[in-house]
Symmetry: C2
Subunit: 190 residues, 2 copies
């Protein structure tokens, strides 16, 4: 359905705000207009291009620092982190992440991004994964950019278990969702 310009620009602004790593191509498809129209919309709304948006996010100092593992052991780039609350990371799917035969991203890389983000989220020196229940909801192809969003959903100080939900997206499409049960060395302090 074609929308008028005002409607479209309002939705465009919301969409980019919710999914800042969406490409102009994806936006054009979503709103059923040309890429050129999207570019003009962004210009009018003063929304920078994707590359600039990513740079901006990457340069922002993280609110919290990763505690449970060295930052370089996180798979993907952490772009937001609030310990024991939420975390976001980005993984660019390159040739080494895909099956040679069909260029589809291998499941264990999406799992590694999500699992290491779940570990990084934990405000503790030690965090180990005990269980995971995961769904691969859409194939991811080479050159796509996967944004993983982790959220702490439950914490049980007695059993020292924390549950973390991770949903991963390419543009606005969910490609992976998982629930991780984590063991932590110290019960969360409240």
């Amino acid at each position: 359905m074609k929308r008028n310009k005002k409607e479209r620009q309002k939705l465009l602004q919301e969409t980019i705000s919710n999914t800042p790593f969406i490409t102009d191509e994806e936006l054009a498809e979503k709103f059923n207009v040309s890429i050129q129209t999207i570019r003009l919309d962004r210009l009018e709304l003063s929304i920078p291009e994707l590359r600039e948006r990513i740079k901006h996010v990457a340069e922002k100092k993280l609110e919290d620092e990763v505690k449970s593992l060295p930052l370089e052991e996180v798979i993907g780039d952490i772009i937001d982190l609030q310990l024991d609350q939420t975390a976001i990371s980005m993984l660019e799917i390159k040739r080494e992440h895909v099956f040679s035969r069909n260029q589809i991203a291998r499941g264990h890389h999406l799992f590694a991004q999500a699992n290491s983000l779940a570990v990084a989220l934990i405000n503790d020196e030690l965090a180990l994964t005990t269980k995971a229940n995961i769904h691969f909801t859409r194939q991811v192809k080479e050159n796509e950019r996967v944004i993983a969003k982790a959220k702490m959903i439950k914490n049980d100080t007695e059993s020292r278990r924390t549950w973390v939900e991770v949903n991963s997206y390419v543009g606005s499409e969910m490609v992976f969702s998982g629930e991780f049960e984590m063991y932590r060395s110290n019960p969360k302090q409240r």
Copy 2:
């Protein structure tokens, strides 16, 4: 409990037959005897040492050939394969597989071994993971050897889904278990 020699040797033979990659150290601990005793037992029973047992298995031609992906894309070494039935692989946990902080193997490597074995098991050109339900049941440390055993447990031609169970062991201890739901391009031919 100490057993007499005859009992011990019978159990030893069974144990090595069930878990061929068990070390002499693990056997000594299991039977509560010295490593030297285990070595003498093996000598008397003509059971080769671990290194020879591994070599023997690795040199054995696989009964079937992997179809769903190139062999080098399987994580770990496949040591047995019967397409659409069972498969076994071995992964040596090295420095690059562990958290630098505590030398515990990172979950995504155990997941990658199990998941790629589940893919390799499928007698089809295309096999993609759709869901997985996994448990990490015991920490794995650097230099340990993980044996993953996959088994096809269910196949539904209509939905083109196949379910594969993978249990991974260090010695006789289970370290990982998972159930994988796989999508395949062609329904299994029976």
